[in-house]
């Protein structure tokens, strides 16, 4: 066994990066895990339930991805492959490193570890990224592509990586001018139908959708659904807040069967200057029928939202629910737990696109 590999076992398992030759990644990983298995002191188990390919366009995004993966792997062990693609760089380089994320397993002192492979491509070497990734994917396990930036900016890489992906995670909150790109997003999703697309911005909305849904659980409120006439959505300043407000409006219209021209007249959106403490951007929603008002609102000074129903004979006292965490790790975990195929998002997106177009015309 090469002494350099032996020496790097400890630092590898401790989470330090070890530079490796791109062509030798798999072999070096195998040697390290073999050493770990034979080690008397390391006491580690390698675990892997899926491949997670994180695609980043800046060093800050790569660091964020690595930190998120460190957290997520405690609940969802995987082989993580973090790609940093910088085509504008003046040099053409392809460099790789490996590291491990280890967590103590429940009951017993054994550590459960996952490996992270990081590949940094600059200049024309970016074209080789997809080719470098494909042989690194663990066979017989699902592959999830997590785009930390706007995948519409790199269509070639997007298409090649989609070819081997089961799921695509992305976050339209981070896209510049996202509302204008919704048409392209819908087209890309349509083109890559074999993949399940998951917009983490939509995942953030689940709290508000859930709060809304709960207001209509009592039979007397459920009976009012068909009589709902309009909705007012107030949102704040946070990244993606406007888009999420639009998506929320699109969702309401979709679920109530309102067509786009009809919905334009029924939905009003208002932006108010206030910081986004909920991680979602929406601050208040009022849904109205002739006889009732259903309100979900963020409580000022608290990390909770509450619902109030104003309707004769319905329960009127506010019900509170604490905001769910909406950081990347929490959102990724939520989606990895569910591993669902959410056809609703595609329908909501389609109507939101129509709504946006109808509002402009």
């Amino acid at each position: 066994m090469a002494p350099t590999v032996t020496n790097s076992l400890e630092s590898f398992a401790a989470g330090a990066e070890t530079a490796v030759d791109v062509a030798q990644i798999e072999r070096q990983l195998a040697e390290l895990w073999q050493l770990a298995a034979e080690s008397d002191t390391a006491a580690v188990t390698r675990a892997c339930l899926f491949n997670l390919v994180a695609i980043c366009d800046t060093e800050a995004a790569r660091d964020r991805a690595t930190e998120t993966i460190r957290i997520v792997t405690s609940r969802h062990p995987c082989r993580a492959i973090v790609l940093l693609a910088q085509p504008a760089a003046t040099t053409d380089e392809l460099a790789a490193s490996i590291t491990a994320h280890c967590h103590l397993a429940g009951g017993g002192g054994k550590q459960v570890c996952c490996e992270q492979i990081s590949i940094h491509a600059t200049g024309r070497s970016v074209a080789q990224l997809a080719g470098a990734v494909l042989p690194l994917l663990e066979s017989d396990l699902p592959t999830i592509n997590w785009w930390l930036g706007d995948f519409l900016e790199t269509p070639l890489l997007f298409r090649r990586l989609c070819g081997v992906a089961d799921r695509v995670f992305f976050d339209t909150s981070t896209w510049p001018a996202a509302p204008a790109r919704l048409v392209q997003l819908a087209a890309a999703m349509n083109e890559q139908r074999q993949c399940v697309f998951c917009d983490l911005s939509w995942t953030r909305l689940e709290f508000w959708r859930r709060m809304t849904a709960e207001m209509f659980d009592p039979p007397e409120c459920a009976a009012e659904v068909s009589r709902l006439q309009s909705a007012e959505i107030i949102y704040g300043d946070g990244p993606g807040a406007q888009l999420r407000a639009r998506l929320y409006g699109g969702w309401l219209a979709t679920q109530l069967g309102w067509s786009a021209p009809d919905a334009v007249a029924r939905l009003t959106f208002e932006q108010r200057e206030e910081p986004d403490t909920s991680g979602c951007g929406i601050t208040m929603v009022t849904i109205r029928s002739a006889a009732a008002q259903f309100i979900v609102r963020k409580n000022y000074g608290e990390q909770v939202a509450s619902t109030v129903v104003h309707m004769p004979d319905a329960c009127g006292l506010p019900r509170k629910r604490a905001f769910w965490p909406t950081d990347d790790a929490a959102l990724l975990s939520q989606e990895l737990d569910a591993m669902r195929r959410d056809s609703l998002y595609a329908r909501v997106l389609a109507l939101t696109v129509e709504l946006t177009a109808a509002a402009r015309s």
Partner: protein, 507 residues
Amino acid sequence: MENITATNPFREGLTTRRVAEPCALVIFGATGDLTGRKLLPAIYNLAHEGLLPAGFAIIGFARRAKSTEQFRAELREAVVAGSRFQPINEAVWNALAQGIYYLPGDYKNPADFATLDQLLQVVDRERGTAGNRLFYMATPPGQFAEIISSLGAAGLNRPTSRLVIEKPFGRSLETARELNRSLTQVFAESQIYRIDHYLGKETVQNILVLRFANEIFEHLWNQKYVDHVQMTVAETLGVEARGGYYDQSGALRDMVQNHMMQLLALVAMEPPTSLEAEVIRDEKVKVLRAIRPIPLEQVSQFAVRGQYMRGSQAGKLVPGYLEEKDVPASSRTETFVAMKLFIDNWRWAGVPFYLRHGKRLPKRAAEIAIQFKSPPAVLFAAECAAPLETNVLVIRLQPDEGISIRMNAKVPGNAVNIQPVKMEFRYGGSFGARSPDAYERLLYDAITADSTLFIRGDEAERSWQIMDSLLTGWQTAPKPFDYEAGTWGPAEAEAFITQDGRQWRRP
């Protein structure tokens, strides 16, 4: 339960496992140990995971006088001490605490139950619970009958109510039937949720997934390929402070009749046609009905019982059962049971199911081992000095939940040497997520009106019917065999299985 997404379109696509409607949980015996140690941490954990509806309410009902504020403060302490999410999230707690109430009352007093009814109506209005109620019996079993009767008299047994009761569900077939009669006089069977925390364990639920979501196992899951099945639940603890209770119960009633019979039913049942609660429970009952009755005069051929004596465990001397507090010196209560059951159906004809449970055994372990038959000894017989080991599939429930398969492999080298190797799947190692506590799962199921993991009345009765012949037979039998604490039970238990040409596994 009605599919709520049909009436509430906003429920579509939410990632929550199932829709929990606003619900009022009424805990009888709310000041007792179970509420603080298990129920409230589980409820808080559900709230923390976002699985409880915003309109969820808890009403504590007990004899002790205290205010709602006091009750909330006590429950908060219990949550801080027992939640798997640390530190607790104040916003989650505050939202939950808003719906917590306390009502002091007597279980026999109609006026107190009328007050409860009034409070529930207020909760219905304020929190939108709309008559959806879950009554949880966290009291000693002796108080079940009076509480249930009072609920009925107060008209609180409406169809939208459910009742959760803790074991024991009787102590014989007769008493189980009596309990079922008193329950069904007030509530319909579909409203009764008999809780067995073993069924809330992740690995127990995984038995169905392992069997019916994997093509490779089910074809081998029958008398043609399985030699026998061994189920072991071993405890290192003695009776601790429960000597008085345990002496009235014993190993058979405390563990085998409920938990182990449920495991057996899940392992042996036929594939259900759907995952609906009644369909699964029907299949479990069919298996229990197919278990061959043990004739009274043959009890000793089908079961061995033991009682632990003084011994040492983990280097410490421990007292014998008869030396334990509140245990009579003349007690004949068993602390160890080994038994053999046959299931007389097409799938399992002739396959013995060995069940073993005991206290003060060397190791805490619970497992189900499917022992397969030997392959034909024609190919490697000349090459191997010893017979080939048989394949074993082990479902480990505790500790270190997981599944392992033993298979034979060639030892590297020029000769054909064969050794058994073990392939392991560990929950903790494969899924980073920590499994929710069994109570968390079961409470959530009860809140969402899913009775799949709860025991139906006929299941409990059929299980008692099988146990009754043993209990009756032992009444006239000599006292249980002695075994030293820290060993795997009496020598007679070894003889019991070796006479069949088999051996107990060492978990």
